[in-house]
Symmetry: C2
Subunit: 279 residues, 2 copies
């Protein structure tokens, strides 16, 4: 069990930021990553469709006999973690709960903002998770639909369009006196400098992916399932479309070239392979 | 045959701008529209995956016995029209050829620009179609990945982020002395005023969707398959996900409320229903 891999799935390539945080914290672990690049993005889709896709993604990972599965996609974590936990035979860790926990710890009573996709914001998953931990906390959820395409286009934090878009989303949050902002989307850590500059030094930034890596370490340690130190873990990636684009853009998310990327055929992951999620 | 509907498919809701142009030009015709909102967008995906999805979309429309099918999606038209034409039992009209034809007619020898998604630009379909008609024409293809999310977020032509993004993409084209620009994506007509302002009055604008509506009229007239005038055609829409979002954002593309929107189940359109497209 200790040497089994950690499975990570995402709607596309963004989850590589979570895989990167896992590799930094747990360098001995093998990671098997599935990116559903044929059906990306999930953030503009319905709960039911996202749950169905997430279940298919996770089922694909099961063939590698993982010791734990990480739902790296914030949208999938926000709308489908219950379905995943109920239907998968291994522990599932999402990114919402770890992000919420860190936010509450850092807020010291000040309001908390969460930025993410349309679907993550509409789900209310982050505010609900935060208020379970801190019932009195004031939480603002803001959808930022332009930030993913800005990152994928390769625009950097000093790009004028990035600065204008970030300011347009964050200025109302700054004005509301937030003390913490949760980056509730895998792409946003790449815009961290622009976000920090827009909000100023008094606002603490939580990256859900990093917090999730810590939660995975805790969960595996509790099960005595961590790989022994000294080993060098391996990252293998599988995608449902366009490995070249995944490799090209994805390397910026993980900070190095991605060596192993394989294309998966539709019949190996899609639709008919799992029992439908009810409406 | 005359009273059979025109089938229109798109990766999502953008094709409603093409459906709108059809309704304006051919108000007597019934239209059945399929938007693949579960797997939208196509513009960042591989040729093979787009061809597979497009074929599934078109096959779904066949159950309505259409007299003609329009590939309203520029990406699908650019990378998959040959596959569609070879495999479907009814005539298929794409948006690339009509857009290219109009551009050549208006260019009067000046350079032509085509803007679209990553996949449309990478396919080289528009430049190839233009150069088949005018071998000496100089053509610039520019991907504009931010424009679709800007439109879907509801930002208008006077929004500062829209103006900055449009300027960033178009300034090099203006400097190159283009005489015509083809809006090679279903979303771009909603940004027409910003594009026109950025390029100035000397650059003519071609909307592929409008040109396609004219091509459909010509094709149906040649087959004596136009509905008799005086009738009021009906628009029925089917989507693979999120009818509420389709209705809400889509009404801006067609200029009126969308009355009939039905959700289609995965087993009725997806993957296993058609023979795979070879790599």
């Amino acid at each position: 069990m200790k040497h089994n891999s950690i499975g990570v799935f995402d709607s596309g390539l963004g989850g590589l930021s979570v895989a990167g945080a896992l590799r930094e914290l747990l360098p001995a672990e093998d990671i098997v990553y599935f990116g559903d690049t044929a059906r990306v993005p999930y953030g503009i889709k319905s709960r039911r469709t996202v749950a169905q896709f997430a279940l298919e993604d996770a089922r694909f990972l099961l063939r590698f006999d993982p010791k734990l599965i990480v739902a790296a996609c914030n949208t999938a974590s926000a709308v489908a973690l219950d379905v995943l936990a109920a239907r998968l035979p291994v522990p599932v860790v999402g990114v919402v709960e770890p992000g919420a926990r860190a936010a509450v710890a850092l807020a010291a009573g000040r309001p908390i903002a969460v930025i993410g996709t349309e679907a993550t914001s509409a789900s209310n998953a982050y505010p609900a998770a935060i208020n379970r931990l801190a019932p009195a906390a004031e939480v603002f959820a803001q959808a930022c639909p332009l930030l993913v395409p800005l990152v994928e286009e390769g625009r950097a934090c000093d790009d004028p369009i990035v600065r204008l878009a970030v300011a347009s989303y964050l200025e109302p949050l700054r004005a509301a006196g937030i003390g913490v902002i949760v980056l509730g989307c895998t792409h946003y850590p790449l815009l961290r400098a622009a976000i920090a500059e827009s909000l100023g030094p008094d606002v603490r930034i939580v990256e859900s992916g990093r917090e999730t890596a810590a939660a995975v370490r805790t969960a595996l340690a509790a099960d005595d399932a961590l790989c022994p130190a000294g080993r060098t873990g391996r990252l293998r990636c599988f995608v449902s479309d366009n490995p070249a684009r995944f490799r090209r853009i994805g390397s910026r998310f993980i900070g190095h070239e991605i060596e192993h990327v394989e294309l998966v055929e539709p019949e190996d992951y899609a639709v008919t392979a799992v029992e439908p999620v009810p409406p």
